[in-house]
């Protein structure tokens, strides 16, 4: 065997959300990570967004905990304001040279206090973070939540007055700092360098740069952001007045052969989001989105689009406007041709250009240094079946640099890239990492409670509704409250330092944060107080945003009173909090994957490649899933062939145990130690695993419309593909109908793959019989990213696309044995009667019918449409709230092959984060039994579903309930059942809950 020369470290190039996720995954599964970012702070474009679709989450609020995580991770070394200059070596063993540009500030010394920022007399440079909509000084912090929170000097404009040096107590400023060359040694490289926004000044007819009131969507994002240049007031640039009408123009720099022919994938949904945000600012503002096809194909996006139309009254106009002109009093005139072919001119106060995504300008040089290929548009070259692999071994890609994509897809792909790097370097796992060390815990038992309360404005998300200064004064008056602080964003990095400082300075022994929801932010704050020497259970959160300011937007006084109550109640509980012992459980180093399609097999192989045993469970008699029925793909490689290769690899892999024809009967245990009971042809068996991955796939809808199953000339796309592959196609005229069973009342979602499949099969028909007439009847063609090329190709090859309206569906009739399709084409405004030889229905993708039963066994949530509901749609697309269970592929939502593969790799990465550890922390808030009070009746043993309680004879004739803490899940049902009050559920004790009730009623 060859001696290993691999290095257990990875460099991630690019510190946006993709790079951040890849870094965290790798650092949490035993690798040293260098995160290289060209700008002074990590965060990327996501940090600049106001809200995220489709949930309307505050973007920086959900990103900030990740920034803090990266900034404090013992195994991530952040190298900001630096460029990669040279790469040598090969997969497993690269040497990377980096040039760290001078910040003119010593990063070690700077505390980020910002005194120097206010001391700088020259504040006239465009603030890059705010899209130049406001000015910054020569010395600046990129944004409030920047990580690292270190100032930066813009030396180009600095006059060296020295004010900053005088005011800096830390002596951090060094105006003569030199560039520094760093060389690092890594085993793999992940390129996550993101994208640049398209610059619309080249499209002269839209007047960007010429007219003040024509702005880009990213500028608009800053304009409506609470921490943006206008403090969240929607002021148009020319006269600072609130516009009464706003137009969004789609596909600016996308789907345009003169600029970028590909689709930028995200602009439709971000425009819908910005339109909704506008309506939330002021419902009276008229918002009109000018678009060609509405491409809201992601999970939950179609419903979001429907809400924009129906609930918010956003208008949608289908066209590509020809020009934008400024007329009197700075009105903007948009000229376009409407659906009836009439030339129109509508006036608006503000025009927002939905600019597309293009590769970052530095990638050409970067790709040469890395030795990786770029595709025809300058994005990273990848293939449909290896979406995270570049042309060079050991170098992986993720995020928008691989192709334009949204945040959840980027996050999943980042985890996928991390998994590839982790597989390559699995022999070196753990060789270069250190454990995070914490100061010893302070003993607070017996001390009087001293509660610190940190109240967050969340920009204007809370502060815009609730009178925070009034709440602060109120909080100060509460019993045992020793310190109260108001923050703009309590989740920011500097706020963590302030919390730690306040714990020290005011000798706090309980901490309350009043902000958003503990479901997303409790881990961050628990970790912060632990760093300050407090037990993490001495923390509580008051949810004054999701459950107060956001749901009482128009009742400011009542929301303020409610906030006071919520804080009073949480303080009442906090006063009674006790430090809890944390429990660790051993991890079974094997995984269990449910579903043997392409997603499940990919997960299994990646886990096996990283050295873990895998149980792969498949319901059907054979592995392969839906892809066995797919013969073609647009990229040319047959999905069936790929699946056969996978089946071969899976069955030959000695670490993978395949169970076909097998059902799951029961699931027990918990993260690190699941026990799954399976039934294989009547044989029941228990399998132990540390993690579970759900990859159950989906099924094709069996249409009940358009004469399907009544006439054998009516097929689904899958059935057509089979015919094509068997050369059984004998038809001259073929009609395809899109959105059959999707985007309707029963199933509002878009099935995502049907446009792709229709174009793919239409092109295949044309290839086989060039004389065939193919008609595609569609509502919106959704070919995101580079698949747009094939849409164009299809049109070029004479495939006819006729657009029907949802309210005027095609009519299919049988007339004396002749199949007739009647459709009104909205583009031409005329009726077509087609007599096809074949009618092909692009049937919806349905969730797997077994999902319901599985979700009940695993205790994970399902959406109403039967797809699984992940922990967080934006930033945790692969995880569930329940630790140790993950999802990927069609179990998550309908998706393409490459996206399924990215997600499958991602699920492996998330799983390895657990499997690579010897033990994981289990919930500490479990029950305890007071042996003196316990009568040994056994009620608790009866109600406990987890066998965590057992009666034991502690002395002759005396039975007492004993707790197995590892098995206890902390539900507290037993404590209610106990007739003698002997059982206490820690962290949710009777006393604590009664104290909250009393506080609410005004009784102390």
């Amino acid at each position: 065997m060859q001696a290993s020369k691999k290095v257990g470290a990875v460099i991630v190039v690019g510190g946006g959300i993709s790079g951040i996720q890849a870094s965290l995954d790798l650092a949490d599964s035993g690798f040293k990570v260098y995160l290289l970012e060209k700008s002074p702070s990590i965060g990327g474009v996501m940090a600049q967004l106001d809200k995220t679709f489709p949930t309307g989450d505050c973007s920086i609020c959900i990103l900030s905990p990740k920034l803090v995580d990266v900034g404090t991770h013992p195994n991530i070394e952040l190298i900001t304001n630096a460029d990669l200059t040279e790469v040598s070596g090969n997969a497993g063993d690269f040497r990377v040279k980096i040039l760290k540009k001078p910040r003119y500030v010593d990063e070690e010394k700077c505390t980020g206090c910002g005194d120097c920022v206010s001391a700088c007399p020259y504040i006239n440079l465009p603030d890059e973070f705010d899209m130049a909509l406001r000015s910054r000084g020569n010395i600046f912090i990129p944004f409030l939540q920047a990580v690292p929170r270190v100032v930066m000097v813009d030396r180009e404009h600095c006059v060296k007055c020295g004010n900053c040096q005088v005011i800096c107590d830390a002596g951090a400023i060094d105006l003569y700092q030199k560039p520094e060359e760093i060389e690092i040694h890594v085993g793999a490289i992940i390129v996550a360098c993101g994208f640049d926004s398209f610059d619309p000044s080249g499209i002269k007819e839209y007047g960007y740069g010429r007219y003040k009131n024509v702005i880009t969507a990213l500028e608009y994002e800053r304009l409506v952001c609470a921490s943006g240049p206008t403090g969240g007031h929607l002021d148009r640039p020319s006269d600072k007045k609130t516009p009464n009408s706003i137009a969004f123009i789609q596909c600016v720099g996308s789907r345009d052969v003169n600029h970028n022919p590909y689709c930028s994938s995200v602009c439709c949904t971000y425009a819908v989001k910005e339109a909704i945000m506008t309506k939330e600012h002021d419902p009276a503002i008229d918002v009109n989105i000018f678009y060609m096809d509405m491409r809201t194909h992601g999970k939950g996006f179609e419903e979001y689009y429907n809400r924009a139309k129906e609930e918010y009254g956003v208008r949608f106009t289908r066209c590509r406007p020809s020009s934008v002109e400024e007329i009197d009093s700075r009105k903007m005139l948009i000229k376009y041709e409407n659906e009836d072919g009439k030339l129109m001119g509508d006036e608006f106060d503000l025009v927002v250009l939905s600019v597309g995504l293009k590769p970052p300008k530095e990638v050409k040089e970067l790709s040469e240094k890395l030795g990786i290929d770029l595709n025809r548009y300058g994005f990273c070259s990848t293939s449909e079946y290896s979406p995270v692999e570049t042309s060079k071994q050991g170098i992986y890609v993720c995020g928008a640099f691989a192709s334009p994509k949204d945040i959840p897809e980027s996050v999943a792909q980042a985890s996928g890239a991390a998994s590839k790097a982790s597989s390559l370097l699995s022999s070196e796992r753990g060789t270069l990492v250190v454990e995070k060390s914490y100061p010893p815990e302070k003993d607070v038992v017996g001390e009087d409670p001293r509660v610190g309360v940190f109240i967050c404005n969340c920009g204007v998300n809370i502060g815009g509704v609730v009178d925070i200064p009034e709440v602060v004064e109120y909080a100060k008056s509460l019993l045992n409250v020793a310190y109260v602080e108001e923050d703009t964003y309590t989740c920011s990095r500097d706020a963590q330092d302030r919390i730690k400082g306040a714990i020290e300075e005011h000798d706090l022994n309980r901490v309350v944060v009043a902000s958003c929801t503990p479901r997303t932010h409790e881990p961050l704050f628990r970790s912060t107080i632990r760093e300050a020497g407090l037990n993490p259970y001495l923390f509580e959160m008051a949810n004054i945003r999701d459950q107060c300011s956001w749901v009482h937007l128009h009742e400011k006084a009542e929301a303020t009173e409610k906030t006071k109550d919520l804080i009073k109640m949480i303080v009442a509980k906090a006063r009674l909090l006790e430090p809890l012992e944390r429990i660790f459980v051993e991890v079974t180093h094997s995984g269990l994957v449910i579903g043997g399609g392409i997603a499940g097999m990919t997960v299994a192989l990646e886990l096996a490649n990283q050295g873990y045993e895998v149980h792969l469970i498949e319901k059907e008699k054979e592995l392969g899933g839906n892809l066995r029925r797919l013969y073609y793909s647009l990229s040319g490689v047959s999905p069936r062939e790929h699946v056969n290769k996978l089946i071969d690899a899976v069955t030959k892999n000695s670490k993978i145990h395949v169970y076909t024809g097998t059902n799951i009967v029961d699931v027990g245990g918990y993260v690190g130690n699941f026990i799954v009971k399976i039934d294989q042809d009547g044989d029941e068996k228990d399998l132990a695993s540390g993690v579970i991955v759900i990859a159950t796939g989906g099924v094709e809808y069996k249409p009940e419309e358009y004469l399907y199953s009544e006439d054998d000339r009516v097929l689904t796309q899958l059935e057509l593909e089979e015919k094509l592959a068997n050369n059984e196609l004998n038809a001259k005229t073929i009609v395809m109908i899109q959105c059959v069973g999707s985007r309707n009342e029963e199933r509002p979602y878009c099935s995502r793959v049907c446009c792709y499949d229709a174009i793919k099969n239409a092109l295949k028909i044309k290839e086989k019989s060039p004389d065939a007439n193919v008609y595609v009847l569609y509502r919106d063609i959704r070919t995101p990213g580079f698949t747009e090329d094939y849409y164009r190709k299809a049109r070029d090859e004479g495939i006819l696309f006729l657009r029907y309206d949802e309210k005027e569906k095609p009519e299919v009739t049988l007339d004396d044995g002749i199949l007739k399709v009647l459709v009104v084409d909205r583009t031409l405004g005329r009726e077509f009667l087609i007599k096809p030889d074949l009618l092909v229905l692009s049937a919806a993708v349905l969730s797997h019918p077994g999902n319901k039963e599985l979700s009940e066994m695993l205790k994970v949530p399902l959406r109403e449409d039967g797809f699984f509901l992940e922990a967080h749609v934006k930033l945790r697309p692969i995880d569930f709230s329940n630790d140790g269970i993950f999802l990927c592929g069609l179990a998550h939502s309908p998706k393409s092959i490459d996206e399924t593969l990215s997600q499958a790799s991602a699920a492996a990465s998330r799983a390895v984060k657990i499997l690579s550890k010897d033990r994981v922390e289990a919930e500490g808030a479990v029950i305890s039994v007071d042996e003196i009070l316990c009568r040994g009746c056994g009620r608790c043993e009866e109600v406990c579903e987890y066998n965590a309680l057992e009666l034991k004879e502690i002395e002759p004739g005396r039975l007492v309930a004993q707790v197995k803490k590892v098995l206890c899940k902390g539900c507290g049902t037993c404590s209610v059942a106990c007739p003698s009050g002997a059982i206490t559920l820690k962290h949710f004790t009777d006393k604590q809950i009664i104290a909250m009730i009393d506080a609410m009623a005004g009784i102390f």
Binding site: T55, G56, R545, A557, C971
Partner: protein
């Protein structure tokens, strides 16, 4: 009369459902204060009675749908306890509409908002908690 409501929400389904109502900006009346518990099965009848004793007008208990309980059967136990509490409420002369049990999943933000709206209306028609002596009215 503006009723004051305490809602016990389970961590896994209904607390997340309440968050979703917020994320979706669904507006509902500001009469409710949420207390998070891990499971609806954690709610002691004594919590319910305490709430009425101190003058709170309505108690809402929300959990995962039957069959979906994160802890298998906690919501079934919650159902039993609510029945028991309603019996006790009768003896105290409290209207049974003051105690409400609802199953709200993590994806039902809309349901959370509509339950609150309905409950507030119901309580308005029932009137103030007779045990409250008026000291705990909502702002």
């Amino acid at each position: 009369m503006d009723p004051k409501i305490v809602a016990f929400c389970c961590n896994w389904c209904s607390y997340a459902g309440a968050d979703l109502a917020g994320v979706s900006r669904m507006q509902y009346p500001p009469n409710v204060r949420i207390i998070k518990v891990m499971c609806s099965g954690r709610v002691e009848p004594s919590f319910i009675l305490r709430a009425f004793e101190v003058g709170i007008d309505g108690v809402l208990i929300t959990g995962c749908h039957i069959g979906d309980c994160h802890y298998v059967s906690g919501n079934l136990r919650a159902e039993d306890r609510v029945k028991m509490a309603k019996e006790l409420m009768k003896t105290l002369g409290l209207e049974e509409q003051r105690l409400r049990l609802e199953w709200i999943s993590a994806s039902e933000g809309e349901k959370f908002a509509s339950v609150i709206k309905e409950f507030v209306e119901d309580l308005k028609s029932v009137g103030p908690n007779p045990l409250g002596k008026g000291e705990a009215s909502c702002p």
